[in-house]
């Protein structure tokens, strides 16, 4: 896939404001990382949508397989005792 005549694909992550996580916003093609940042600026932050950008070559990302969704995520479903709402606390008990 890595044809040297083509600009590779990058995934773009933008931090909207200081204190927030970087969030995936989309992808773009660029010749190198520097150009990817510049294109991401033009493409995804034309209206002050961000204060920081990450770009990552798409092929560097390893993702979970949608076919394994059940085996990966189902086991958490019946472990409701991991949530605070599982526990009945008498009304008289405060600040708990």
């Amino acid at each position: 896939m890595h044809d040297s005549r083509h600009w590779p694909l990058y995934e773009v992550f933008v931090r909207a404001r200081g204190g927030l996580d970087h969030k995936h916003v989309g992808s773009l093609h660029a010749a190198d990382e520097r150009m990817a940042i510049e294109h991401a600026r033009d493409l995804y932050t034309r209206r002050q949508e961000g204060v920081s950008i990450w770009v990552v070559p798409s092929k560097a990302i390893t993702a979970s397989d949608p076919g394994e969704t059940e085996s990966l995520f189902e086991p958490a479903r019946d472990k409701i005792y991991r949530h605070p709402t599982f526990y009945d606390i008498p009304d008289e008990v405060k600040t708990l």
Partner: protein, 331 residues
Amino acid sequence: MYTQELDVRGADPAPAADPGVLEQHFLARVDAEQKIEPKEWMPARYRSMLIRQISQHAHSEIVGMLPEGNWITRAPTLRRKAILIAKVQDEAGHGAYLYSAAETLGVSRDELIDQLLSGRAKYSSIFNYPTTTWADVGAIGWLVDGAAIMNQIPLCRCSYGPYARAMVRICREESFHQRQGFDLMLHLARGTAEQKAMAQDALNRWWWPALMMFGPPDASSTHSGESQRWKIKRISNDELRQKFVDFTVPQAKFLGLALPDPLLRWNETQQRHEFGPIDWNEFEQVLKGNGPCNAERLAARREAHAEGAWVREAAIVHAEKQRLRAARQAA
């Protein structure tokens, strides 16, 4: 192992998986309003329908820069010029979001651009009309972008995740396009008699092509059935067209301009506007390539692509050189 590289199509599921079962599972997810994501199983027809629709949409954004770009150097004030540049830049961005969304379906950017430049791909027929006066910039923003928004808002809920997400971003930006167009028309309509006449003339020329943007009447629309079943298209062409007319009539009245349709009238019982017949023959002709600017638009895109070739190649060579230099210094 999976890579996230979205322009590489995911491997087909294990041969043991029964296509009937996979399709049932897919339809159940669509019915439950869940989003389908790139690497998941989907019917081949769903994939090809999306590639066709999203890439046509992307091409429309890119070709759509041409009629308005025509006026950037001749905008009457610096303010209008800055607005128009921002709008045309947005269209380029919309094209880029949409090409990216199409690529997640396993088709390459180069393939899509080649389809456009070779004339095999379609784009919205509206961009094959010329922009002969400054008022056309206003009419396009108000009517063409207005019609586009009407078409695009339901697509924000489309079943394919990357397309829906691109549409959310696009709709947010389109609203500025429509409002600046209306604002431009309002200034002309309240200006000198000559300016008002120019606005009226633009409205006369863009009204019918704008109504055609919603596509053929429901009775003869070929792709609608499957598209609605798969929740790509949610509202029919005629319903959207009707809504557009109902929204636009009072806006034209506010501008003091007349819509060029002698049959247009309010139907009290049906609570909607009736409007005259659309010239579908004209629509077919423009779609077939015989519109006023089809040849000119494609020629402009081909020229831009050819003249940019050295830049694309130089950027790759430069990037490679930088990589080698960094590697040598590290050694």
